[in-house]
Symmetry: C2
Subunit: 408 residues, 2 copies
Amino acid sequence: MALIVQKYGGTSVGTIEKIKKVAGRVARTRDMGNDVVVVVSAMAGETNRLLGLANQLSELPNERELDVVASTGEQVTIGLLSIALSEMGYPARSFTGFQIPVLTDSAHVKARIRNIEGATIQSALKKGEIAVVAGFQGIDETGAITTLGRGGSDTSAVAVAAALSADVCEIYTDVDGVYTTDPGICSDAQKLERISFEEMLELASLGAKVLQIRAVEFGMKYGVRIHVRSSFNDNTGTLVTKEEEIMETAVVSGVAYNKGEAKITIVKVPDRPGIAAKIFKPLSDANIVVDVIVQNVSVTGHTDLTFTVGRSDYKKAMMTTETVAKEIGADKVVGNDKIAKVSIVGLAMRSHSGVATKVFETLGAEGVNILGITTSEIKISCLIEEKYTELAVRVLHKAFGLGKPANA
Amino acid sequence: MALIVQKYGGTSVGTIEKIKKVAGRVARTRDMGNDVVVVVSAMAGETNRLLGLANQLSELPNERELDVVASTGEQVTIGLLSIALSEMGYPARSFTGFQIPVLTDSAHVKARIRNIEGATIQSALKKGEIAVVAGFQGIDETGAITTLGRGGSDTSAVAVAAALSADVCEIYTDVDGVYTTDPGICSDAQKLERISFEEMLELASLGAKVLQIRAVEFGMKYGVRIHVRSSFNDNTGTLVTKEEEIMETAVVSGVAYNKGEAKITIVKVPDRPGIAAKIFKPLSDANIVVDVIVQNVSVTGHTDLTFTVGRSDYKKAMMTTETVAKEIGADKVVGNDKIAKVSIVGLAMRSHSGVATKVFETLGAEGVNILGITTSEIKISCLIEEKYTELAVRVLHKAFGLGKPANA
């Protein structure tokens, strides 16, 4: 007898038949005596269809209105899943972002959740209903519809689980759990039984694609145990939880990569105090997230400054940066949107020296040029040309002994 | 310099190209110095697609959830039209039913508007924005999403016009206005310049399909002038207005028909006081609208009772009626869902005798059997077998001299 939040992504609810299957799984969980809250995404392909319509009208559509359009995808799914559950004799009630409400900031297209009111859902549960919640969406203070950005339904699910103090948040996806790396690149990649929030945070932010970064942040902040598992079978997946709950600790837990990167370099920036703020404020004002920043040491009073952004922000970021470059008297701006980032992540890196050296040697031995480096306590990331991505992942996965034993 | 509400139906916004054209027309109206509020339907085919998804899950889908699904169609259109207007440099802001809010009762799938708050739209107009409003949808007191039923966007538009005291409500459609009958059946049908609310009410309720009945009721109640016109040209259409504004009055203004009818007969109903209430209360409880009621005079202490319902309610109505029939000890229930209603409408019928006789003679001369009759001050309707519909319309249109002169 527990309160379980289940989240089903777009591929899990991609057809009417799949929605029926999800309803069946939800019903089974209910039959075991649990209270169930289901968070769903739009049916696979639907969000792209909607954004495609908007893009036929404008290259950079008004983002407030884009959210009005995009948020309908999840609304359709909650209605359909509730109909399927009712048809099976399970009372169900759908909730949109405004009905709960899920309060967010006003950063359209990539809003952040500020608060979720648990009372309306709780009163449905008390009546014996299954609550079916639209992921990805919320409203801001003015009542405008907002969306959380790609993958935002994971965040919705974990935030709802936090608001309701749920026992576990199950994230159903089309993979069995979190792997040491992408099995599409390394066939000997292994499923991890457990992983800490901290490691998952680095893996998610680096593009492991299983779980959205903000979902992990919410989980860590509010101590929500997240169970990542497959919607196609009943196998145990990967439990994302507190470090204390992790037993064995390999030096490196996984190798992640992200191809969706773009690199922008401002050439000959005058080296004055306050210049960095001048450059990055317009970008943050435009809601562009800057990732890696590399600045060369200044010798001549000028410096080259390089940073990366998500590839979808590349055009907007280039325009913004070119304006700023003129204002501050820099020489020019050059960009490259064919950049990838490869990273290794592991809690035990803290207590093991020589990990960085091993990374650089491994990549160097294969002739992969490193265009930038960032590190944290539990992560080392290298920017490389996109074409080397698969090669880099494979050699690092092997170098740190992450593959299954050959006879396994 | 006026406040104009414009409503565009599904065919007018059926493709991205058509949405651009609508944006162009809205912009022209704005350029003339008018404040503009646009009310839109779902893109043509979209509502059927959404209902089709729901029907794959259930034959009688949960209606609360059906509204959640169906209301997304209009939400997509308001977002897209606002994006199109913004792209052209016209500030625009979309409004869903809950954002305004449009308060309705809780009769899902066919809710009625109780109140529209004008303040949020007015504040957008004050800022110089074009307000783009989702037709067809509202919320009830509990915050549940409701829809007004097929054609409900007309009602939304006129109700919004009433709430804002707009100068005119323009209903854009794929026809040039209101005709003396369906030009698809009578090629010599003529466009009416003006028509009274009362006549339009009878025509709309009888299936003229140009304008929804509740929209006309709202127009009449709040004195909103409704201009029905084509979205494909700039021609003046038909003005629906107060009787005082109508000049010439033909005896009969138009011939309407409705094929979407079904007839239910309860055989051998015990003739006791209160029996009619027993029969019709369960139907109204199920939100089924009963139209024509015919009861034979009782001789033997039993009577046959016949009534019609919309064809979409037929199954539900039969089930409900069969239960009631058992309870009251009636003999049996028989139904026929292939019924049509043909009607003639005209203000001047009040002062002309012999109109009914002419209708019966005209139909009788063609061998069309009349299965039931209802009349009002300005209307005569006959139930007939559906297969005779076109024939009946043609002979009545001719008998009352409604066609264009042969040389026109």
